[in-house]
Amino acid sequence: MRVFIPALRQAVFLMLLAAVPSIAAALLHPSRPDPSRIPQVEAAAVKSWTKRFVWVDARPPAEFQRDAIPGALSLSEDDWDRSIDAFADAWEPGVPVVVYCGGGDCGASESVARRLKREAGVADIFVLRGGFDAWRHTR
């Protein structure tokens, strides 16, 4: 115990010291994670989920018709009022939802996910990192 206390003291000092660059990074880093954004998950990780979840395709319906993740529901901002009922039928509270759009920075998945969280009360919701392209490449 006698030798453990100085180690603990040093550890606390290092942990406090680490807070200084962390605060700077939280304020200034160009690639800082935004706590108000929807969390992103990788396609390979989602493919290994064993429990039930719902895919939501946030691309325009025409793109969804051409090719989509099997079992996904089409729910874009433009088609919201028409498609939200189909989502409500397929989803139950507690079931995770993964929203995707076309590619890296399309933004549609983020806005649809935000709306689902706000209006449909989906708490366990994610955005697919890299979108449909990423999912296709991990087939």
């Binding site: 006698r2 030798v3 453990f4 100085p6 180690a7 603990l8 003291r9 040093q10 550890a11 606390v12 000092f13 290092l14 942990m15 010291l17 680490a18 807070a19 660059p21 962390s22 990074a25 939280a26 880093h29 690639s31 800082r32 994670p33 935004d34 706590p35 954004r37 929807i38 969390p39 992103q40 998950v41 990788e42 390979a44 990780a45 493919k47 290994s48 989920w49 064993t50 994610f126 990192r129």
Partner: protein
């Protein structure tokens, strides 16, 4: 004589300590470079809510870097070793949890991507054993 002095002060425990320091500085720097990608890596584990994940993604890389640097300085050596051991234990717990849930994810050990769960778990256990060895070789317990 000089060679003898070097041999007596820089033994296997010191070598392991330097290796641990290098690994933690390297791992921390990779994560600090792109904390958003690291946050996605943590989100893949599905353990913490996003707001906590974002905080971890910002703070953890710097803690790793400072713990790594601390291992190189006698004044902070035992504290840094305590942090490194605690972090490795937490990482092992997270990897084990992902493995038990059948998640197929990259460990995120060095930022975005990285190895799969099993190699990362084995590597962390080896590093934990290295930490235990360094602790045990300290002259008066953890404080050297």
């Amino acid at each position: 004589m000089a060679a003898y002095a070097l041999k007596s002060t820089f033994g296997p425990a010191s070598l392991l300590r330097v290796v641990l320091a290098g690994l933690f500085i390297y791992a921390g720097a990779g994560k600090a470079w792109d904390p958003a990608a690291f946050a996605s890596g943590i989100a893949n584990y599905r353990i913490t809510p996003w707001i906590i994940t974002a905080g971890i993604a910002i703070y953890l890389p710097w803690l790793e870097i400072l713990a790594g640097v601390g291992l190189l300085f006698p004044r902070f050596r035992s504290g840094a070793l305590l942090i490194v051991s605690a972090l490795l234990t937490v990482f092992c717990g997270a990897l084990l949890s992902a493995w038990m849930r059948g998640l197929d994810i990259h460990c995120g050990c060095f930022g975005a991507g990285g190895t799969g769960i099993a190699p990362a778990l084995i590597r962390n256990l080896v590093l934990l054993a290295a930490c235990a060895f360094v602790w045990s070789r300290s002259r008066s317990g953890p404080v050297s």
